[in-house]
């Protein structure tokens, strides 16, 4: 096992497209690092550069203490799992697993031992004599995983390994992946565009956008303290609600005012976010997580710091354990480029409803006991301790430690 360090790594394709731009990243020994971002953000390119399948245009990559910039993939002692599995179709499962070991001139008994162990670990024992064509998608995926495991490499690189599985299988494979990493403790770099996968798998998550690193942190920190609008919008589902608001301080204390609502800002927030007081009297972008809403009826009396917000539910999505309440607020949608980029997760599908007028669509996640129906008036409460504030021009989170020096 080894750590992986990326030092100011660039990737410039012919034609001048900069796929990865000055990427600094340290993946610790035994860590599960997830690279996440919308399509075309450079996450796969970064992974392929670590693998050695792609040349590095600038900077350096270290695996362990070795600079591997010019080492071919086979000398980097890493194994990779591909999105489409890339199994050798003319070899049996056993031969697929053993291929890499044979090439390393390993002794026959040792190969058998390792292949047997991996097959046991992945439940592939009864399929060893089959060819990939005779396997289901999940089994192929496990073979691809096994091919990496038998190598016992310094690090695993995984390029969206679960994205070709159906939803249910993906969830169970995600759990097995977690278990596997727990057992083997091998440094893992995992690329995905699925923020749920990123949150559930990663020890730390690295959010990339247009080849530029946005934030590296634990999943919880990314969720609680996003560094900018992009990260805020990308991590968390449903996405964070944002709007333009005025930050004011008057007789009633500090508050944000937007679309006819007034939410008091507790003093503790100013203490947590140094520099926020400089925005008093100015326009900011306010962000509220859907999970920081609750139906006042389901919230059992008043909770400190929770403020009532009456809204009218347009759409409700019942998920069983909770309900997503979609409602409009009378404020223009935030058209900051970061917020837009995070919403349009690379796919062409427009996510927003065709709303009449200049309104923003917000989502509140409330308890299923709320029983709110579309068209109903509902009184929501907001946890004002968890408000997020962003600079209108830069889109940077106000008072975030990474932004203070900027």
């Amino acid at each position: 096992m080894a750590s992986i360090v990326l030092n100011k790594v660039d990737k410039i394709y012919a034609g001048g497209v900069k796929a990865v731009n000055g990427l600094d990243l340290e993946i610790r020994d035994g860590e599960f690092m997830v690279l996440v971002g919308p399509s075309g953000c450079g996450k796969s390119t970064a992974l392929r550069m670590i693998a050695g399948l792609e040349d590095i245009s600038g900077g350096e990559i270290l695996i362990g203490d070795r600079v591997v910039n010019h080492l071919p993939p086979k000398d980097r002692d890493i194994a990779m799992v591909f999105q489409n599995y890339a199994l050798y179709p003319h070899m049996t499962v056993e031969e697929n697993l053993a291929f890499g070991l044979k090439l390393r001139k390993m002794s026959k008994p040792e190969i058998q031992k390792r292949v047997g162990e991996a097959a046991r670990m992945l439940g592939l024992e009864q399929y060893l004599k089959r060819k990939p064509a005779a396997l289901s998608g999940g089994q192929r995926q496990r073979v691809a995983m096994g091919r990496a495991i038998v190598r016992e490499p310094q690090a695993f690189l995984m390029d969206e390994p679960l994205s070709n599985l159906d939803a249910k299988l993906r969830v169970s494979m995600r759990a097995s992946l977690n278990q596997l990493h727990e057992n083997l403790g091998v440094t893992t770099v995992y690329v995905t565009h699925d923020q749920v996968e990123a949150m559930t798998l990663g020890d730390r998550v690295c959010v990339l956008r247009d080849g530029v690193l946005q934030q590296v942190d634990t999943p919880q920190n990314l969720f609680d303290n996003p560094v900018n609008l992009f990260v805020a919008g990308f991590m968390g589902s449903p996405a964070m609600n944002v709007t333009y608001a005025d930050l004011i301080r008057d007789n009633g204390g500090a508050a944000v005012v937007f679309a006819g609502y007034r939410l008091p800002v507790p003093d503790s927030t100013f203490a947590e976010k140094p520099g926020l007081d400089r925005y008093l009297g100015k326009k900011i972008i306010l962000g509220i997580r859907p999970s920081d809403f609750e139906d006042s009826r389901a919230a059992h009396g008043s909770i400190g710091g929770w403020v009532r917000v009456p809204v009218r539910a347009n759409v409700t999505e019942e998920l069983g354990s909770e309900i997503n309440v979609l409602f409009t607020i009378d404020a223009p949608p935030v058209e900051h480029k970061d917020a837009m980029a995070a919403q349009h997760d690379g796919d062409e599908e427009e996510t927003s409803l065709p709303l009449g007028g200049n309104k923003s669509l917000w989502t509140a996640r409330v308890n299923a006991r709320s029983h709110v129906r579309p068209g109903q008036e509902v009184e929501l409460v907001v946890d004002t301790h968890n408000l997020h504030f962003f600079d209108v021009d830069s889109g940077l989170s106000i008072g975030h430690e990474a932004n203070i020096s900027r």
């Binding site: 399948l53 194994a79 990779m80 591909f82 199994l87 050798y88 890499g100 990939p132 192929r140």
Partner: protein, 297 residues
């Protein structure tokens, strides 16, 4: 080169066909099959005729048609074939083998390596060179006959089997490279990358991953090339000496201005067609096989 068996009975979605409908389908399918069998038999009749002619003696061939064999099977004799073996024809048969087999194998071997490079190795000017190779496809071999003959003279190999083989290889390569390269490009890139990650050097990827997967293409190319060289007369006429002449040239020399030596020609001709036929049946399973199944996704 893969063919997909047509779905015999396509039903309109959601509609249960009645007994009559299914019967009609069955009959319809039967008609098609009978028709196909008829066509196949029709195409085989001349071959069968040649086989029978090659096994009748000269007088019989001159006095009656080969189909009389069905009523008088006793006229069959293997004398023509034993005569053939004692004549000089055997050596020309071996010459054909000595020319065709090396020419085919060399072309597959060289073209596969070149195609791999054109498909998967980045080197400067790759696409330009490949375009030049494609351009060679339209160069007629006739324009090279005289210069190559002179060249062979310089090296002292004119008239030899080697000279014929080399000529066939040279003019077979552009098409072979073109065919294989286009097949190789269709192999998923991840497969090669996986092999690279597994630690396979380039030649190993070629030999153990790409080449086995290219069996359908290699088989088709092999058949094409084998037939082309096997049946060639022009190159043999120009370059091969009498003792190195292949069957085509030997058969040609049996043709006379007045009449023919049917008792030599017929068995010789049959011999020269049966080998490619056997070869085709031996390799035909590769044509219908989808070898990439299960590799990706």
């Amino acid at each position: 080169m893969t063919t997909v068996a047509a779905e015999p009975r396509q039903q309109a979605a959601g509609i249960e066909r009645g007994l009559a409908g299914r019967l009609l389908d069955r009959i319809g399918g039967g008609v098609v099959q009978v028709f196909l069998v008829l066509v196949a038999v029709f195409w085989l009749v001349p071959t069968l005729g040649l086989l029978v002619v090659s096994m009748r003696d000269d007088t019989a061939n001159n006095s009656s048609g080969w189909w009389t064999f069905f009523t008088k099977p006793a006229q069959i004799t293997f004398e023509n074939y034993s005569n053939l073996l004692t004549s000089g024809f055997t050596s020309s048969f071996w010459n054909t083998i000595l020319i065709t087999v090396p020419a085919t194998l060399l072309i597959i071997f060289i073209a596969a390596m070149a195609a791999y490079a054109f498909a998967w190795i980045e080197f400067p000017g790759r696409d330009t060179v490949f375009l030049l190779v494609i351009a060679l496809l339209v160069v007629p071999i006739q324009i090279a006959l005289i210069p190559i003959a002179k060249l062979y003279g310089t090296f002292g190999i004119f008239g030899s089997i080697v000279s014929v083989v080399l000529f066939h290889v040279a003019f077979g390569l552009p098409f072979a490279i073109f065919l294989l390269r286009n097949f190789f490009v269709g192999i998923p890139r991840e497969l090669l990358e996986a092999a690279r990650m597994d630690g396979a050097p380039e030649w190993r990827i070629f030999a153990t991953v790409v080449f086995p997967l290219a069996k359908p293409a290699v088989a088709s190319l092999g058949i094409f090339q084998f037939l082309w060289v096997w049946n060639d007369l022009l190159v043999a006429l120009v370059f091969a000496d009498t003792q190195n002449q292949p069957m085509t040239k030997a058969l040609q020399s049996q043709m006379r201005q007045f009449g023919t030596n049917v008792d030599i020609l017929a068995p010789g001709a049959f011999l020269s067609l049966i080998i490619p036929l056997v070869l085709f049946f031996a390799f035909q399973r590769y044509f219908v096989q989808g070898l990439l199944a299960g590799s990706v996704k």
